[in-house]
């Protein structure tokens, strides 16, 4: 688009100079160092793989399993390692069509990317004969095939399956020592919780002489785009509402109908309850504005003196630190009131999120070395390599006892906890892989702890029927147009919803503001989003037969 017209006569000399300059520049920059060929693979036995890593994760070259994959596929791998700002790096790379042979990392390429960049990724559905491990996984764990398959049957990405993770990410903790100090029982209903928290607040529960330093209740920072783990949305289960992934964007299913809890009266009741607690000073003043560091740090207390009474977290030793973990008990789900039956209680069902990693590996359609790329994918899903990608190399981090039994070893560096160790030494949860259902693994202590602390929740989780109660977002691939509509609507909806959530809890007013709010978020696109979800759900359930 020439703007020369605006410049009229005076532009002539300017343009002349410009052309000369541009030519000169092009001439001298042409002689760059020549290896700027970003993607597409070398075609000479090297394969370029972009790996999305946790910032703690060490160099790919230091992982012994990388050598095993190279050997299995007969290639040399050139790694491009990304551990920060992937969201900003990615769009340009994809839009310019400049991707390496493989991209590895859980949801590094999202469903939205797969839909938008049509033709950029290899359709693996016609390459499955070169991927015996993958077809094996599809047969053994059918959900993985649903996760991989597009509406038209193409397979642009493959998920991972981790098997051993608990079915929920959020565990509920109460300071048992405080209860004992004050001669209280574990609460089982919201009212009892309220009373217990009041006692924590007023009676110097930690016994350090300062009656004001106790924080009776705290939860993880809620983002601006939806709910997640360790947040009070799990209390929706107290009223029998089935939620998943800690709440997410709010979708659930009741009697075949897709609903969103953001406009459900049970959500309103939860907010009203939380406001009562907040108004009594029972919830951390920082709860709406603290960052994750502060949320984690404050629960670590001072020495043996705990500060937080009731909270949610991944596992006790992670949530409150190794020193205080002994003071806390994992608490079963609470009932909203006496009229709720135990049999109707639910808890957040997160298994699709925890035991599966969607879109964990994708392949470029322009790869020059297709066979090698496929061989690498297949190797990632090998029985042994899958374990090594997840927990680290054999001998150093895992002992292979025999062909079907393994033991994950404690960290060789004793100052590091098992989870940090895992993220330091390997791709861990970011890697693709298939952990077989028929092998035995002695789990690392962090995972074993989480599994154990999930036990009080198991009955409630079992009340959630993943096929009938939750919206299986991970198993459904939507069209580009629908994804666009949903994301634009979500931006508007959550701007309103999260703000109300925060102000209603801290300042009250949910009863009077509720009807106006329901109309407002409905009109901002939530109604349309629910419709879209419903149509995909109907299609999905009919295909499941």
């Amino acid at each position: 688009m020439s703007r020369a017209g605006q410049f009229r006569r005076r532009a002539v000399p300017a343009l002349a100079a410009l052309t000369v300059g541009a030519l000169a520049l092009a001439a001298c920059s042409g002689g760059g160092d020549g290896d700027g060929d970003g993607g597409g693979g070398g075609g000479d036995g090297t394969l370029q793989i972009l790996a999305l890593k946790h910032p703690l994760t060490g160099a790919m070259a230091d992982m012994a399993w990388v050598g095993q994959i190279e050997e299995a596929a007969g290639v040399t791998i050139e790694w491009e390692e990304v551990s920060a700002d992937w969201d900003q790096k990615k769009p340009t790379m994809l839009a310019a069509g400049d991707i390496p042979d493989l991209i590895v990392g859980t949801n590094a390429i999202t469903n939205g990317d797969l839909a938008t960049f049509n033709g950029l990724f290899e359709d693996l559905s016609d390459d499955l004969e070169s991927l015996p491990n993958v077809t094996g996984m599809f047969e053994a764990v059918p959900a993985t095939e649903s996760m991989a398959t597009q509406p038209e049957g193409e397979i642009f990405s493959l998920p991972s399956y981790r098997r051993f993770w608990p079915e929920t990410g959020t565990r509920q903790f109460i300071n048992q020592q405080w209860l004992d100090n004050l001669g209280l029982e574990q609460p089982t209903t919201w009212d009892e919780l309220h009373e217990v928290l009041l006692a924590f607040k007023t009676q110097d529960a930690n016994g350090n002489g300062d009656p004001n330093d106790e924080i009776p209740m705290d939860w993880a920072p809620v983002g601006e785009t939806g709910f997640g783990l360790f947040q009070p949305t799990v209390l929706l289960g107290s009223m029998g509402m089935p939620i998943s992934d800690g709440g997410g964007a709010g979708y659930f299913v009741e009697d075949g109908e897709v609903k969103n809890f953001l406009i459900d009266e049970r959500y309103r009741d939860l907010i009203a309850f939380l406001h009562e607690l907040y108004a009594d000073g029972l919830i951390s003043q920082d709860v709406m504005t603290q960052d994750y560091s502060a949320y984690q740090s404050v629960a670590r207390g001072e020495g043996d003196t705990a500060r937080v009474g009731f909270t949610w977290g991944w596992a006790g030793s992670d949530r409150v630190g190794a020193q205080l973990v002994g003071q806390y008990s994992a608490l079963p789900p609470l009932r909203a009131d006496e009229s709720m039956s135990e049999a109707d209680l639910t808890w957040s069902y997160d298994s699709y999120m925890l035991n599966y990693g969607v879109n964990s590996i994708t392949m470029s359609a322009q790869s020059d070395n297709k066979e090698a790329a496929l061989a690498v994918i297949n190797a990632f899903y090998d029985q042994d390599i899958s374990l090594e990608v997840l927990w680290g190399d054999f001998d150093e981090n895992i002992t292979k006892v025999d062909d079907t039994s393994y033991e994950v070893l404690p960290p060789t560096d004793e100052t590091v906890d098992p989870s940090t160790w895992k993220w330091t030494t390997t791709l861990a949860d970011n890697g693709p892989g298939w952990i077989r259902d028929d092998i035995d693994v002695v789990l690392p202590s962090d995972l074993a702890e989480a599994v154990e602390q999930s036990q009080p929740l198991e009955a409630a989780i079992a009340n959630v029927d993943p096929d009938a109660d939750i919206f299986p977002g991970q198993l459904i691939k939507m069209s580009q147009e629908d994804l666009n509509t949903i994301s634009i609507n979500n931006t508007a909806v959550f701007t309103i919803a999260m703000q109300r959530w925060a102000t209603w809890i801290t300042e009250g007013g949910v009863e009077s503001g509720w009807d106006g709010y329901v109309a407002e978020v409905g009109g901002s696109g939530l109604a349309q989003n629910i419709e879209i979800h419903q149509s995909y759900y109907d299609e999905f359930s009919s295909s499941q037969g």
Binding site: M1, R9, A17, I488, A502
Partner: protein
């Protein structure tokens, strides 16, 4: 664009001779400007074809410029968005406040630093005020969290000491002040450097003369220092006016929490959430272009006013 051809052909005869004269006289200036012109032409003008994405569907398989032409669809979509007016209001409030405070503070600081007697003291003050510029945004926001925490923050406690209680400084009522004050705090010293450089060019004889005339120090500041800063001030003011719809992105994004979302959602964060996180390239480009047009209009208008009022202008 169609205006180009008649405009070029009319003065061709006279133009040729004038051109030769011009070249003979000014070729050295052209040579000096040429590298800058070339760099800008290549790296700023060549990629500008990407702007048409605002009027087209982004279609990956058809290439960047091959998508279907949809006219003003995406602009319309933005104007019709339920968030449009909130975004505009929040953006203007934040950017104008930052602009005014961020414009005045460095001038004041430069004048103050300039009053300090003694090289070492002056250098120390300058260096101290310039340090915060180098703290990364992630850490600044982390520090704001720690300093302003309603339960344990230092500033909250100081405020309580002065009788201000029950305010969550990280919430919505104080969001704009916290943002602006921390911006000024961080960049004031850095932005005063340019003014200090301008003050350095003041002829010291002027001060001597004023002192002999018995002028007080305020008088000296008003009649010697401030006038020395005026040209720089005008240029920076014009440039700043071209930022009415610009706010930083990262800092606001990191400072957002559910409590302040009503005042902290600005165009830049909206574009990030819509455009980058969900591949809405066309929509993102359209919003960006809308932003640019408003900013550019402000710049052009301010520039014309400045030209008339003070005879200083960008072009």
């Amino acid at each position: 664009m169609t205006a180009a051809s008649p405009a070029q052909s009319r003065p061709r005869q006279r133009g040729a001779a004038a051109l030769v004269r011009h070249a003979r006289r000014y070729w050295q200036l052209w040579v000096m400007a040429a590298p800058a012109i070339a760099f800008v032409a290549v790296f700023a003008y060549v990629p500008m074809y990407g702007l048409q994405l605002a009027f087209r569907e982004f279609d990956f398989s058809a290439g960047l410029t091959g998508g279907e032409f949809v006219g003003l669809k995406y602009f319309q979509q933005f104007f019709d968005s339920p968030q449009f007016w909130t975004l505009i209001r929040n953006t203007v409030v934040i950017s104008l406040t930052t602009l005014v405070a961020g414009f005045v503070a460095p001038i004041a600081l430069a004048l103050i630093v300039n009053q300090v007697v003694g090289r070492t003291r002056k250098k120390f003050l300058q260096t101290a005020t310039y340090l915060p510029h180098f703290i990364s945004i992630v850490v600044i926001v982390g520090m704001l969290q720690v300093f302003l925490s309603p339960s344990s923050g230092l500033i909250t406690r100081v405020a309580e000491f002065f009788g201000v209680t029950g305010v969550n400084f990280l919430g919505s009522s104080t969001f704009v002040s916290v943002y602006v004050i921390s911006e000024v705090w961080q960049h004031c010293g850095w932005n005063s450097i340019i003014y200090l450089a301008a003050l350095a060019s003041v002829d010291t004889q002027l001060y001597e003369a004023a002192r002999i005339d018995g002028a007080g120090r305020f008088t000296i500041i008003r009649h010697i220092d401030v006038p020395a800063l005026v040209p720089t001030m005008i240029v920076l003011l014009i440039l700043n006016m071209g930022n009415v719809l610009n706010t930083g992105f990262e800092k606001i994004f990191l400072m957002q929490n559910p409590l302040n979302l009503g005042v902290s959602e600005v165009i830049a964060t909206y574009v990030y959430k819509i455009g980058i996180l969900s591949n809405q390239f066309s929509y993102g480009t359209a919003i960006g272009l809308f932003n640019t047009l408003i900013n550019f209009t402000f710049l052009v208008v301010t520039n014309q006013v400045a030209k008339r009022v003070s005879n200083t202008s960008l072009w």
